[in-house]
Subunit: 126 residues, 2 copies
DNA sequence: CCTTGACTTAGAGCAAACTCTAGGTTTTAT
DNA sequence: ATAAAACCTAGAGTTTGCTCTAAGTCAAGG
């Protein structure tokens, strides 16, 4: 059997619109159809979708994800390319986490500053 | 004196177009002008810009940053609101970092998988 | 059998955040 | 003094990633 697009939407948190859009953009060449044309998501498709969401949410564009998916469809000749892509993406994520850590520090500094400021204003008002 | 928009662009890494856009959107009400109308960025403005970049790069919309900047212009009555905003943003950043950590793990798993796969393909071909 | 709801497509619409152009003014460097 | 470069505004255009509409088909429950 498998999942209709609505069920797949529920399962992934993406909208049915988005899933259709992803397919149109070449991100889901593995999703099959019933004889009448309805999309039929298999269990293994959700692992693909999780990978796609990982890449998208770490900043990869639809275009680059499409290229990666294309490589996967081509077979073993593209293993090195795919490994290189994952390594590059890993680097991106590490850089982003470092950046976010610095922003977290900045926010903590501001929070402490504001807590003090509020405290001082109260003292003056009292 | 101060910095022209071009110098400010160099200093911040944002384009002059972007800086004008930010001003138009109400993000930079503190930037002054020379008598002839040229923008003149002061040293303190770059601290504002760093804060704006922090908020933007951690996912805050232009609209919400404008609201925050507006509060700052209003004075001490908005201290609590601003503190609450920083705390909320801190939470966002923490959540994002956790999410990114899980993506990093996923990528590491894939990288190990691909390294093995490539190794195995070589063995078979040899 | 029939209604209701979910599915299909193509293509239009939308929001965000820039990014650039045109036409004009000012600053800077020679 | 003048030419080149940088500035100004208003507004148009671009990109990305959805998000929805219209018109029609299909499938499941009563």
């Amino acid at each position: 059997m498998g999942y209709s697009i609505g069920k797949a939407a529920d399962k992934t948190g993406l909208s049915a619109f988005t899933l259709r859009y992803y397919e149109k953009e070449g991100l889901l060449p593995f999703v099959e159809r019933t004889p009448s044309g309805t999309r039929c998501f298999k269990d293994s498709d959700f692992e693909w979708l999780a990978m796609i969401q990982c890449l998208k949410n770490t900043g990869m564009s639809i275009k680059d994800i499409r290229e990666f998916v294309g490589w996967c469809m081509e077979g073993d000749e593209t293993l090195e390319k795919r490994l290189a892509m994952f390594c590059a993406q890993r680097k991106e994520v590490e850089a982003k986490m470092a950046e976010f850590q610095s922003y977290l520090d900045k926010l903590d500094w501001k929070i402490a500053y504001y807590e003090n400021a509020i405290h001082d204003v109260r003292k003056i008002k009292a």
